[in-house]
Amino acid sequence: MISDFDLLDRFEDGDQGALEEIVSKYQKPIFFFILRMVWDEADAADLSQKTFINALRNIGRFDRRSNLKTWLYRIAINVCKNHFRDDPRRREVNIEGMVFADQKNPLDHIISEEERIGLSLALNHLPEKQRHTVILKVYQDLKYREIAAVTGCSEGTAKANFHFGVKKLREILTD
């Protein structure tokens, strides 16, 4: 399997195919991560494109001691922040109709449709760092070490953010 660094070397040598390979590899996690932040498919597509372009235009700043995936998530977060800063009304999202039950999940019966929507809304209203951490942990399956690299904090803080985020969601759910 070709490593990210090989792809980046080829990209820096002007190989356009390498760019497509990088995007193909990470498009789904980045798109769905952004979608969970902005709750609008069209915006998520635009912002995903912006994320890849920003990342690749600034690839000289990428420290190869870290990994490309966390670098992309980091840029995605900044792109989303700018998106909301440009128009704060974008935070008023309509989640209903966007979240579905995963039919393949045998544990799906533990939570009702109403609770599912409630959870998504509550997640959306968590403090920024906690929200990013919960999304990266639960949906993107990142390790605390990786979340720390994305959000620019220590591993301990990433754990604490997840802990407090889940606790708040639990309180909301049980209210």
Partner: protein, 244 residues
Amino acid sequence: MDCREVQDQLIEFYEDQLDRRDAEQIRGHLEICSLCREELSSIEKVILGLKSQRLSDPGEVFWRDFPKKVRKAFYEGGRSIRVPILLRVREGFYRTTNWLPFSKPVNAAVSIAAMVLIVVGLLFFRAGWFWMGSRGIGEEALEGYFGGTEVIVSPFAPGSLDSLSLHQLNGISRELMGWLGGMGSLGEAILKGDGFLREEGVFNQLEGLNSTELDFVYDALKTRYLKTSTSLPIPNGLRGRILC
């Protein structure tokens, strides 16, 4: 271990991230404590509830084309263009640079009409700007343009806030931008929003207004014409004089 210690580690216990000794202690506590068992069950419910949520997938066509779009935008320096909602095509809902050639005649017609409107708007904007510039700066030009008495906030027309209406402001944004553009340093300061208005000397030009009122005017201008958000309430003194 007491309940508090156990509850502090329940998430890590649930994620199987504790060392064997700690995990055993928590397991032992859970056997005798229904409160902590309930806590664990609610944590489980939140995490599983979140995990069971699925989002709609944009589809194979999207994933196949997206890398090509990014490559094209990257190498051609293209920017993503938001296509109006009328042009959205469900299957390929993301709209970037390649929205030509048009897939449907109606899309083409709407797009061409939009482009014509944009071009006409730009030409009109340029003409208006030039016209304002040619008439000079301040009250005289504004009176001439708006038909006399309805002068908007202007340092050259003290007291004219009587006629200020946000609806009016909204309707004449283009003209006011032209006016600000021709106003020299004060106009530039408003356009840039750099706080220049807060300097004492400039405040004095807006006679009859106190600093709260000036802040509101400044913020209203920014909100309406620079597309920023406003957080200032309308000052009491101005409330009677402004139709909102």
